[in-house]
């Protein structure tokens, strides 16, 4: 299998540049046409500690992280100690001979002979790249992509280090890790979940994004900020998350499609604003990139424990939709769907991701931007009639007009209001408005993304999952099928509204159902029971801050 599927782990301390090493190797692999799944594991600190960047690379599509490591690239001695036990049989540790560590599977590289210390990361790239068969020119091109802006002399010195490293590795002829070449490599992009969300948002017509930095959501807005001038949008760092969501609601009310991105604690501060968007019927897309809580929790690790929180966020009763992308492609397409629903139903729509997916680089086929339909700003009122912002309608959707864009006046209120938007305590009107808002949920239910079934409908074993674990669960089931087991997966990329007709038959037909989630209490299983009465006894749960892997799922199931 190692000739088609390799797991490379780069380890070191914060500040050593291991992410750059990882990105350059990953991009080189993607440019060559391979499929990758990156898992980033880092500590909440700027210097020191232990971080890792794992690249699982495949000639065929890889969809999940893997625990066992084939090539361990150790930028410090601690990495060897931390990960030696995860080395696969015949795995190799690439390390600096100056670490003074020895072992059977150690490839001790004379880093200091090959370059100055400040280019040792490039040496690591060169040695590891040469061992897996990456062409020197390809790696040099990627180095330029990352270091090109830093000046010709630096580019030159990096190239020099790369050439020496490749030469050294070639002379030492390390075999057994060479990935086969492609005759016709597919053109791919390297993108992580957060990048795909920002690109999806831009293609949806996003115009305004406000944020307060919070790991692991921050890179969404950093991406948007980097493209802001070219894309014609404004990204504003707010004084706090409360301001961020209120700014976004204001911009959206005025007519600029808006988004906020945060994580658990920051979202806790935004919650009153969620209720405001619902009451004022203002479209807004809210990305919650989960990390382990409670409170500050583990800021840089992953978890899926905010499903119930997001589902119930905001006081009062109002419709909402929650998407839980499972792949990078879904991050892109479901972000677009979120904007579509927010604009159509005029209210809050959520994207629930997590640190694993946010930071997980993958190879993706370029999105056909020309073919994407444009997302319209919901239903617009005609300019001739008398305008009432909250006109009571059959489907609950009140046509919009934008303030200042016509002579009609637009009045929105967080208090209960009349059709014209003015504060009221007329209790008959109150009841009609509650019902009007609720009718929008009927529309949302009619267009939910149904869960994705892989395998037979009448499985002996059905694995139920949602969000970022899609790849791990799919691969686990596929491994079980190779062992002759009739295992299927049912994955939810939209977890609210739930429409039981879309999946109850599959649940009932399965001999046994196991729910797989990255949390300690089985929140999705509980939601299924609440909505359908179907009780899922067996669960595979993970809440140590690391992502689900096929190995973890299989091991837990065999307990």
């Amino acid at each position: 299998m190692r000739d088609r599927d390799l797991n490379i782990l780069i380890g070191g301390e914060a500040g050593q540049g291991l992410v750059t090493v990882g990105q350059i190797l990953s991009k080189s692999l993607v440019r060559k046409g391979y499929s990758i799944v990156v898992t980033q594991s880092y500590q909440s600190r700027i210097r020191g500690g232990h971080n890792s960047f794992a690249i699982r690379v495949g000639v065929d599509e890889v969809i999940a992280p893997r625990k066992s490591v084939d090539l361990l690239v150790a930028l410090n001695g601690d990495t060897v100690i931390q990960h030696r036990d995860h080395l696969s049989p015949e795995g190799l540790v690439i390390l600096d001979d100056s670490f003074g560590l020895s072992g059977d599977s150690f490839l001790k590289v004379p880093f200091s002979e090959l370059s100055e210390k400040r280019f040792s990361n490039t040496v690591a790239i060169g040695v590891a790249g040469a061992i897996i068969g990456l062409d020197e020119n390809l790696m040099a091109g990627t180095l330029d992509y990352y270091f090109g802006k830093k000046g010709a002399s630096l580019v030159e010195k990096n190239r020099d280090a790369l050439v020496r490293a490749v030469k050294w590795a070639t002379e030492n002829s390390i075999s057994g890790f060479m990935l086969p070449d492609f005759s016709n490599p597919p053109r791919r992009l390297m993108m992580n979940g957060n990048e795909a969300i920002s690109l999806g948002a831009l293609t949806s017509g996003l115009r305004f994004c406000a944020f307060y930095p919070m790991t692991p959501s921050t890179s969404i807005v950093l991406n948007l900020a980097g493209h802001a001038e070219r894309a014609g949008i404004i990204v504003e760092q707010a004084e706090d998350e409360i301001a961020a969501i209120n700014m976004a609601v204001g911009a959206s009310f005025a007519g600029a499609p808006s988004m906020v991105a945060t994580s658990g604690g920051g979202f806790a501060l935004m919650v009153e604003g969620v209720s405001l968007a619902a009451m004022t019927e203002t479209p807004i897309v809210i990305v919650v990139a989960q990390r382990p809580g409670p409170a500050t929790g583990l800021p840089t690790r992953t978890e899926q424990a905010d499903l119930e929180f997001v589902l119930h966020s905001g006081h009062g009763e109002f419709p909402r939709a929650i998407f839980s992308p499972g792949t990078i492609e879904e991050c892109f397409h479901l972000t677009r769907r979120a904007f579509e629903l927010a604009e159509r139903y005029q209210g809050p729509v959520f994207l629930l991701t997590d640190q694993f997916l946010a930071d997980s680089y993958r190879a993706v086929t370029p999105f056909g931007i020309d073919q994407l339909s444009s997302i319209r700003a919901g239903e617009q009122a005609s300019e001739t009639s008398n305008y009432a912002r909250y006109a009571i309608t059959e489907n609950g959707i009140s046509p919009r007009l934008l303030p200042g864009m016509t002579e009609h006046l637009v009045v929105a209120d967080s208090d209960e209001h009349t059709e014209e938007g003015h504060i009221t305590e007329d209790l008959t009107m109150r009841k009609r408005m509650v019902e009007k808002r609720r009718r929008k949920e009927r529309g949302m239910r009619s267009e939910v993304v149904p869960p994705d079934l892989v395998g037979e409908e009448d499985a002996d074993l059905l694995l139920l999952s949602w969000g970022s674990s899609k790849g791990a669960v799919t691969e686990a089931a596929s491994l079980m099928r190779s062992d002759g087991l009739n295992a299927s997966t049912l994955h939810f990329s939209q977890i609210w509204p739930l429409v039981p007709e879309n999946f109850m038959d599959i649940l009932r037909q399965a001999e046994k159902v196991i729910c797989i989630e990255s949390n300690a209490t089985g929140q999705f299983a509980r939601l299924i029971r609440r909505e359908t009465g179907f009780n899922i006894e067996e669960k595979v749960l993970r809440y140590d801050g690391l992502p689900l892997t096929p190995e973890y799922i299989l091991r837990e199931m065999n307990r």
């Binding site: 949806s204 204001g250 911009a251 303030p403 200042g404 864009m405 006046l409």
Partner: protein, 283 residues
């Protein structure tokens, strides 16, 4: 020709004698003086008796959450800088619940006019202390008297070199209306702190109390001089200055965004050619 009738007449939820009535009258006068038609104006308000004021005005309105009107207004202004945006709410809303937003909006210098109805007490929740209540002010919630010192919004705004800082008194409608007009005309953030009596819950700072103390700054007062403005900002007690206390010409927040030079965000279309370029960067 915009007239006072364009802004309508409404029944209110206010107590007879409330300072809000005069403030609303001054607002209407100012809008008419500046010949702004109702659809060109957008009010953002928070929660409280003052925050209801824009409901009694025939114009665009976003009546949001308690304390959060400034960020909403900032979002509105960035999305459509063509709108004349006014924010109207009370002392609790702007100086208490939304205090952080006040600091931030001053730093940004967003082109907004903030009218703070400052009656030194919470009206809608029936008489608790507000951030501007005097130390020792007795309420049912503070039966032994307010143990904190009052917030001085003018001094804070001047210290932060806010674009336009003024104080007015609801009892002097012409002057108040003039302050509002100047605030609207100012290209940047304008704070107008409006002293007003609360006839139901503040028996200390009454109409007569303010009327006796408020004096207009002399004609030769120079609001461009920051140091003298700091002194005037700290005046409070037997004499309370009203008028434009400080002013400068810092560029407005919106003027920093090149993106807005091509028109408001609300009118922009998705440019697929540029997006394809952006996507290429991930290759």
């Amino acid at each position: 020709m915009v007239t006072i009738d364009d802004y309508g007449k409404y029944e209110t939820a206010w107590c007879p004698g409330c300072g809000n009535f005069s403030i609303s009258e001054a607002v209407k006068k100012a809008l008419v003086e500046r010949q702004l038609a109702p659809h060109q104006v957008l009010f953002v308000s928070g929660i409280g008796q003052a925050a209801k004021a824009p409901h009694y005005l025939n114009t665009n309105l976003f009546n949001g959450l308690h304390g959060r009107s400034l960020p909403v207004a900032t979002g509105v202004k960035l999305a459509n800088p063509g709108l004349t945006v006014l924010v109207e709410s009370g002392d609790g809303c702007n100086y208490g619940e939304g205090g952080n937003h006040l600091l931030a909006v001053i730093r940004r210098n967003v082109d907004l006019t903030l009218l703070v109805h400052n009656n030194q007490v919470y009206g809608l929740t029936k008489g608790q202390a507000s951030p501007t209540s005097a130390g020792g002010f007795v309420t049912k919630a503070q039966p032994l008297g307010v143990p904190s010192e009052p917030f001085n919004p003018i001094a804070v705004a001047v210290a932060m070199r806010a674009g336009f800082v003024a104080r007015a008194f609801s009892g002097r409608i012409e002057h108040l209306s003039e302050m509002i007009q100047q605030g609207i005309a100012h290209r940047g953030f304008a704070l107008i702190d409006v002293l007003q009596p609360c006839v139901s819950f503040n028996k200390v700072n009454t109409f007569a109390w303010y009327d006796k103390r408020c004096y207009a700054l002399p004609h030769d007062y120079e609001p461009d001089d920051w140091e003298s403005a700091m002194k005037v900002a700290c005046e409070w007690g037997d004499k309370i200055p009203i008028g434009v206390i400080y002013r400068n010409n810092r560029p407005s927040f919106e003027s920093h965004f090149n993106v807005l030079k091509d028109g408001p965000l609300v009118s922009r279309k998705v440019d697929k050619t540029r997006l394809k370029d952006i996507m290429k960067a991930y290759g």
